[in-house]
């Protein structure tokens, strides 16, 4: 049991208009160990896309918390989630990030498993003088206790005692639909995965994705280039999706966007964007409206940063990114990122999407490094201090209402809470949803 009580760490008193987070959540190594056990290894996490193992016997590998996993499609076409460790001595049976294999042979003593996880051979079994107890053991690859798919998005839980995936995702499923329904064939990952690390806590990334407040102050160097490009209109530079939109500008008038929070820690930060050719999706704007209705089509063009707690983020703003957060230490995080795109878009739309992506999202681009460097600067200030409580979860609270608003109603989306923002609202109260889910998963570990 940790020395902390939950009330030492999260000061959640809605009746007094107070929500504060203790810096220890970002800087205490012992708390980080508890997070690995209870948040990442204790409940539903995103593990990958079905399209990463599209054909029979395709597989990919990864981790849930500290536990190596193997996602494999059987010969019959069924996806399975397994612990990527030989029952014999623990060696990872698959070492590649991805591949195709009917059989996985352990590199140590050649125990062999098929693509459905079943043990197909124990080397020299008959001559091995095993006692009866051994035969009573199951020698297949251990299955991840819970494994499920929602429209190509794969989730798993090492803890069996969790709600159904459907309940876990809840209303946020409708926001995944807005990604998948951009094509009748669904979504795909553009080849080329990009990984980077930053020396700060994983929750810096969790929050930043849904932090509208930082955009104009962390990325002015990028915004200045967008403005120059919009004026010059040179063919050789890519125009930004954001150039024709006002939601992020300080002097925009009327509602510009806002936030929705959902049960289990999922949140959406969004901004109004018009249906314009600045987005690669524009080529299908009419066809999509016909298929899913104008309201849902218009939402597909809005800026949307979706977090499925605790480790999946789909950012559709300057381009379209799928991010997976992998916590490594209390002050080290690895990000795995892909460009996610609707299948079947034209070559020109795809090229535009990729160019917009590289400029903004890559750690080698012109925006993300300013985020990751800021995370590290924040991490420095997370050291224990006389004033432990952060002041970064307070904006928007007075505008937060129960339920949704006209914008969510238009697509039948029912959030727990919402903030309809003016240009300078930049709600931070949506983060509360993260920390309430955090408390939900950590409750057993903290008093």
């Amino acid at each position: 049991m940790s020395a902390y009580r939950i009330s030492d760490l999260i000061d959640d008193r809605p009746e007094n208009g107070v929500f504060r987070i203790n810096r220890a959540l970002f800087s205490d190594p012992d708390l980080f160990e508890l997070e690995l056990s209870h948040i990442f290894e204790g409940g539903w996490v995103f593990v990958g896309m079905a399209c990463q193992a599209e054909n029979p016997h395709d597989f990919f590998t990864g981790f849930i918390g500290r536990v190596p996993i193997l996602i494999s499609r059987s010969g019959e076409g069924t996806l399975g989630g397994f612990i990527n460790a030989c029952p014999h001595k623990g060696a990872r049976i698959a070492q590649q990030l991805s591949g195709n294999a009917r059989l996985h042979v352990c590199p140590y003593h050649s125990w062999t498993f098929d693509s459905a996880g079943a043990n197909r051979n124990i080397k020299w079994k008959n001559g091995g003088c095993y006692a009866a107890g051994f035969d009573r053991d199951n020698h297949d690859l251990a299955r991840i206790p819970r494994f499920g798919e929602y429209r190509g998005f794969l989730f798993a839980s090492l803890n069996n005692d969790v709600p159904s995936l459907e309940d876990h995702l809840g209303e946020a499923r409708k926001l995944i639909d807005l990604v998948v329904d951009q094509s009748t064939e669904g979504s795909e990952l553009v080849p080329g995965a990009v990984r980077f690390t930053y020396a700060a806590n994983w929750k810096m990334q969790l929050e930043n994705c849904s932090d509208q407040y930082h955009f104009t102050s962390t990325h002015p160097s990028y915004l200045r280039i967008l403005n120059a490009r919009a004026q010059e209109q040179k063919d050789e530079v890519v125009q930004s999706t954001l150039g024709g939109s006002d939601f992020w500008k300080e002097d925009a008038e009327g509602p510009t966007g806002g936030t929705y929070s959902f049960a289990n820690g999922h949140v959406l930060n969004w901004g109004l964007m018009a249906v314009t050719p600045a987005l690669p999706l524009f080529e299908r704007a009419d066809a999509i409206a016909e298929r899913v209705g104008t309201a849902r089509r218009n939402w597909m063009f809005n800026m949307r940063n979706l977090t499925i707690f605790p480790n999946l983020q789909i950012a559709e703003n300057a381009s379209s990114q799928l991010r997976v957060i992998r916590p490594v230490a209390h002050n080290l995080t690895e990000m795995q990122t892909w460009c996610i795109a609707p299948r079947g878009e034209s070559a020109e739309a795809r090229r535009m999407r990729i160019r917009q992506y590289e400029d903004f999202f890559n750690p080698t681009g012109m925006a993300t490094p300013d985020d990751t460097v800021v995370y590290e600067e924040c991490q420095a200030g997370m050291a224990r201090q006389e004033r432990p409580w952060l002041q970064g979860h307070a904006r928007g609270l007075a505008a937060s209402v129960e339920g949704g608003n006209a914008y969510s109603d238009s697509i039948g989306l029912f959030p727990q809470r919402s903030v309809l923002g003016q240009a300078q609202t930049c709600d931070e109260s949506l983060f509360h949803s993260y920390y309430r889910a955090w408390v939900g998963r950590m409750r057993g570990a903290l008093a």
Binding site: L97, G192, T218, S221, R224, D235, E236, A347, R355
Partner: protein, 165 residues
């Protein structure tokens, strides 16, 4: 003939490395042709890099000089926290080979290591890989029409900018 080309190529590559080391970005930009292709492919998996920048992701892909100018503009803007405290860098270019040659052009391959000190973060790192340069002869001397950076250690610690490779 080939011998002279090798010397010219080495001179240009070393000059490029030195300009990046010293942050002389105007002179660095001047090394590239107006329609330069500057490309750092991503990795598709453990062994293959992406090959088609229009259908696959790159770490950096630019066609046209003004894209490189934008990068430098951002570094110098004073508005990028990632660029505020300059990193100290040393480029070492080696194994330079002329792989193809015409009267006014050459293909050159080489290896690079870039040692960096991120003074802000108190952290050192080495990026390494291979360069492929397409050089063209102009009135101003040899210029770079195409540069491919094959970065081998592609898990980027926090940031990688044009001076890091």
């Amino acid at each position: 003939m080939t011998h002279d080309m090798l010397r010219d190529a080495e001179a240009l590559l070393y000059r490029e490395a030195s300009l990046l080391d010293h942050g002389d970005y105007d002179a660095w930009l001047d090394l590239f042709t107006p329609d330069v292709v500057f490309w750092m492919p991503a990795w598709r998996n453990e062994v293959e890099q992406t090959q088609d920048p229009d259908r696959e992701l790159s770490l950096i892909y630019y066609q046209g000089h003004s894209n490189l100018e934008d990068r430098i503009r951002r570094i110098r803007s004073g508005l990028s926290v990632a660029s505020k405290v300059p990193l100290r860098v040393v480029h070492a270019v080696s194994n330079v080979m002329v792989t193809a040659q015409t009267s006014d052009g050459a293909s050159v391959s080489s290896c690079f290591t870039v040692h960096l000190v991120d003074v802000r973060a108190g952290r050192t790192h080495v990026f390494f890989g291979r360069y492929e340069h397409e050089l063209v002869k102009t009135e101003k001397g040899w210029r770079i029409a195409r540069k491919v950076v094959r970065l081998l250690n592609d898990v980027v610690p926090t940031l990688l900018d044009v001076y890091s490779i």
